[in-house]
């Protein structure tokens, strides 16, 4: 279990919407297919994706995810930010690729023994 705020700090992620940063991520799921996240993501996972439209917030709410990381220098759409603020969902962004972000996060999780 890692706190979202610690993940953001260690990976140097930009906090675009600050939900509950002290919530704990149990693991991570990576997909750009929303129904795949619906099917295979686990509650409290942090989610890495390239998608930036408002539906990512709905997926995070329905699945009870701990946050969303948008990679490759992409930005959440304005409506996505508005929705995330209303729903208290954390959105983080990074210029790194999904591969690099995943690698760093994987190291963090394994070092943490989870």
């Amino acid at each position: 279990m890692l706190k979202v705020t610690d993940i953001a700090g260690r990976l140097g992620l930009d906090i675009r919407v600050s939900g509950d940063l002290h919530t704990e991520a149990r693991g991570c799921y990576i997909s750009d297919l929303l129904s795949d996240v619906m099917a295979n993501g686990k509650e409290s996972d942090i989610w890495i994706t390239l998608q930036t439209h408002p539906n990512i917030v709905a997926v995070a709410v329905i699945k009870g995810l701990s946050g969303i990381i948008i990679t490759n220098g992409r930005s959440p759409e304005p409506d996505t930010v508005k929705k995330a603020e209303a729903e208290n969902i954390t959105i983080l962004t990074t210029g790194r690729t999904t591969f690099e972000t995943a690698g760093l996060l994987y190291t963090m999780f394994t070092a943490h023994g989870s």
Binding site: S31, D32, L33, L34, S35, D36, M38, A39, E43, T49, Q51, H53, P54, N55, V57, A58, V59, V61, I62, K63, G64, D79, K83, E87
Partner: protein
């Protein structure tokens, strides 16, 4: 948990209204949480309801989501004015989708919607008429 009278609610859904997608299922999820329904039922109901809600938004002109929560079961019924499903067996197959390209670019239309609904419900009934619309009856046993 003990629910004596059945609790019901209804939401209007607009085709193409991606901005409000998830609102109905989100509200259903919080209603179930407030009632103290088990986490497993809440989790499965939220997934099934959201996928069904997305199907209406992606494919139909408009529709409704109606739910009733009783002491034994939760029923979620989605009725839409949409194109209807030509071949239900094919539509249930993972990976099969009729969604347009721009919807796929959003990460929907992977052909996982109906299979996800089936997996997360205890019973799923689909009634569809091509050119008229589709009705989904999703049942989850509570307890």
């Amino acid at each position: 948990m003990h629910i004596t009278d059945s609790i019901e609610g209804c939401f209007q859904l607009m085709g193409g209204d991606f901005t409000n997608a998830g609102k109905a299922s989100g509200e259903l999820k919080s209603t179930l949480s407030k009632l103290g329904v088990s986490q497993d039922v809440i989790r499965r109901a939220a997934i099934a309801a959201f996928e069904a809600e997305m199907n209406v938004i992606i494919h139909a002109v408009a529709g409704t989501m109606h739910y009733s929560i009783g002491s034994e079961e939760l029923k979620i019924i989605l009725t839409d004015m949409g194109p209807g499903i030509e071949d239900i067996e094919l539509a249930m197959r993972e990976g099969y989708s009729t969604a347009p390209d721009w919807v796929r670019e959003m990460g929907w239309g992977a052909g996982m919607g109906l299979p996800n609904i089936k997996k997360n419900s205890d019973n799923l009934k689909i009634d569809s008429m091509v050119g008229e619309g589709t009705t989904l009856e999703i049942t989850l046993y509570i307890k």
